[in-house]
């Protein structure tokens, strides 16, 4: 019997927040570096527009993470706070959460884990409105067709 085991990071459970809440993200990575240095790490919400990842950049929080010289893989854990402010473009809906080092390929993200409560925005209810409007147009046409028979 061939037993294959793969380790997959545990998915984050979605959580609900309100406009104005501050979210504290705890993240970690392992690193090596040949001299003492530091990196800027930022975290915040994102969503997709036409399939393209769109950061709600105004909501992002960032910190500077010190990286002492490490010749072997060394774990670094840190926290980043960001606030869900309506004036920064966040509104009720579902968002992903991304933690990244700007200007590098180093990032981690998960879709649909930030649920922002509140009245739905026009973009959230637009598909439902369009469906209702189409039903409203189709039903009278079907009724008129039935009367001719």
């Amino acid at each position: 019997m061939d037993l294959q085991v793969a380790f997959v990071p545990l998915a984050l459970e979605p959580k609900t927040f309100n406009i104005g809440d501050t979210v504290r993200v705890t993240a970690s990575f392992k690193y090596t570096v040949g001299a003492d240095t530091s990196v800027t790490v930022q975290a915040g919400p994102y969503h997709y527009i036409a399939g393209i990842l769109d950061r709600i950049g105004s909501c992002f929080g960032s910190i500077t993470v010190d990286l002492p010289m490490a010749l072997t893989l060394t774990e670094k854990q840190f926290t980043i706070d960001f606030t869900l402010k309506a004036e920064d473009g966040i509104q009720a809906g579902t968002y992903g959460l991304i933690v990244e080092i700007p200007g590098t390929e180093f990032s981690v993200k998960q879709d649909s884990v930030l649920i922002i409560a509140g009245a739905p925005s026009i973009t959230d209810i637009l598909p439902m409105l369009m469906a209702v409007m189409m039903m409203g147009m189709i039903v009278p046409m079907m009724e008129e067709g039935g009367k001719e028979d």
């Binding site: 990071p9 984050l12 959580k15 927040f17 809440d21 501050t22 979210v23 504290r24 993200v25 705890t26 993240a27 970690s28 990575f29 392992k30 690193y31 090596t32 570096v33 040949g34 001299a35 240095t37 990196v39 990286l67 010289m69 490490a70 010749l71 072997t72 893989l73 774990e75 854990q77 706070d81 959460l97 933690v99 080092i101 590098t104 180093f106 990032s107 981690v108 993200k109 998960q110 884990v113 930030l114």
Partner: protein, 198 residues
Amino acid sequence: MTLTPLISSFKLSLGGADPVVGQQLAFSGWYRDPVTGQQYYYDAVQNQWYVYAAGYLYALGYMNPAPKQVTLAPGDKLKITLSFKYTGPAVTGVSSRYCIGAYGATGFDEKIYLTPTFNIPANLTATPVTVTNETTLTLPASPGADWDDIYVKIWGGTPSIGGSELSPNYIFGYENALVIVGITPVITEFKILDFVKV
């Protein structure tokens, strides 16, 4: 009576590594690759293959898998020790070249090197004795991540052990002997552990 230097089992040590011994044939002579037609020469005394090209003999397969890896950061010093078995007269002023660089399809791209000379004491017995020599190389402030190979070659001296800087009889190297940790962080296993309202 003429005393001829005899060197064998040329190898490098990165702080006590085990020697690497290649395949050894019984007789010296020319060999021909039946597919390519390329001619090779095997020196059974030195246990060394050579390839013939443009009038020169080049030591073949002088790069070997490293028995271990040494991690280095900018400014770190690497001590390379070579050793070989020797029978013959005392030799003074043997030239050597110790290199760190990137070995690939186009050869060895030397990045750091030193060319010290050293002496070999006489051994007039029939039993070869081990001769060692060492040199320390220092990494610069911004080493390349691909500077992970090393080699050493020796030639010349009085009386000469043979060879020259461009066609040494004795050359040996290790591939992937070094792990260069540069000044740019390398990050892995990036993950979000939790997120909460505060």
